[in-house]
Point group: C2
Chain length 283, copies 2
Amino acid sequence: MIIINKPNEMSEKIKSLKLQGKSIGFVPTMGYLHNGHMSLIEKARGENDIVAVSIFVNPTQFGAGEDLDSYPRNIERDEALCKEKGADIIFAPQSVDMYPKGYSTYVDVEGSITRGLCGASRPGHFRGVATVLAKLFNIVQPQRAYFGQKDAQQVAVVRRMAEDLNMDVEIVSCPIVREEDGLAMSSRNTYLSPGERMDALVLSRSLFEAKEMIMSGKRDASNIKSHIKSGISGVKSADIDYVEIVDADSMEDLEVIRGRVLVALAVRVGKTRLIDNIILEVE
Amino acid sequence: MIIINKPNEMSEKIKSLKLQGKSIGFVPTMGYLHNGHMSLIEKARGENDIVAVSIFVNPTQFGAGEDLDSYPRNIERDEALCKEKGADIIFAPQSVDMYPKGYSTYVDVEGSITRGLCGASRPGHFRGVATVLAKLFNIVQPQRAYFGQKDAQQVAVVRRMAEDLNMDVEIVSCPIVREEDGLAMSSRNTYLSPGERMDALVLSRSLFEAKEMIMSGKRDASNIKSHIKSGISGVKSADIDYVEIVDADSMEDLEVIRGRVLVALAVRVGKTRLIDNIILEVE
């Protein structure tokens, strides 16, 4: 496994691999890897000649007052984990090389996909996500890029961008990986105190309850959202950011649950903002 | 020479050419080709295995009330000209295939490069330009893309975008091609009545005078702009949109003329908006 820091060195390396006819699978991450990331690397390993993992805490997707500076980092541990899973290349650029002086270009995905959910709570977040992924895709030139469904809205944004801008990359979405007790894996779980860690179970528990309600035939979205909200409100350290039920592709609000449906929520537990979701196919 | 209309067919064709190790030179145009375009195709022909010309009147770079509907079109003549100059592929997509239902993604170059000149007169214009070129570059995957210096601000925008988004393409700027009497070639010259055609010479004449003033040692930008403006004001059918002297790369306003300097103007002659410019290297 090799580690590359400079964007132009990464581009050159990729070019020489493509000239050899190698297929590239790409796992973009912000590092501090957990089992969710591991599942993406494993999936990429099975489908491509070369697996490239990027580790870059992208400043443009953080808003003012968000956790850019405190976001957990541990590059040595990340390297060991990538090596263990059989990655071939780690691309770990510096901010100053990704956004040098005079940097001016941004990619926006507009409309329903970015209007609600995290797009509403975190203005500019998806602009930063789309921009950095456009850059990374141009550098890494992957056949396939792997994303966790935990960031379901991010997956919808990147799919839309790739299709709209005629990018030659397949976007692969992989299931959420959970702790044994149901908590969705996240680098931000490390922020939680032991008490908050317990309280945070209300996210997945609410979603599993919603799933049961829908499976048992309930189709009224506002009814199910109310149920979820009242469950979360019962937990003292938990503060709801949003609870939404939307079309899983367009992210448009649903009143009646039908089709490919995303039930998504964001909850602040103490000072830590956590997200979780489920996707259901409903007739 | 082959003609391709569908973006996915173009992508497939390009992929097979790249697998054969061919280099691609790309000339993006809005059609109604003139000798300016011909010079780009010739230059591309000399530097690449394959020359691809796109012909697409891009709706997203036209503002409300602009000449999208009346923009001159003659695809048969364009095809004959491309063939004559040795182009290999014409890519002539339909709007509905470039911007299908649900299209949502735009590329913005912010800051001084797009703030003034045509960016100020035509809000959204460069957003449309950057977006369509991002799409076209992804479809055509060129090693080199050729642009006329007549659209000097466009060249600065696309250079900035390509560098910022790590696109693997060299942006080649080619000199303005003029009619014998000095008028810069433009598809829009066809709008001019015979009287307006005479009046339109004030654009190039003003620029040549400005060049002489600068060459003779004058360095005060506002003085030279005043001289240009008073010349244009003497022509009854001419209405100044802007006259600017800026840094040729950053497009930042200059008070003192020094470095790589762009003297650029936009003038409405009758109903036709024309642009022209000169770039000078000044010690």
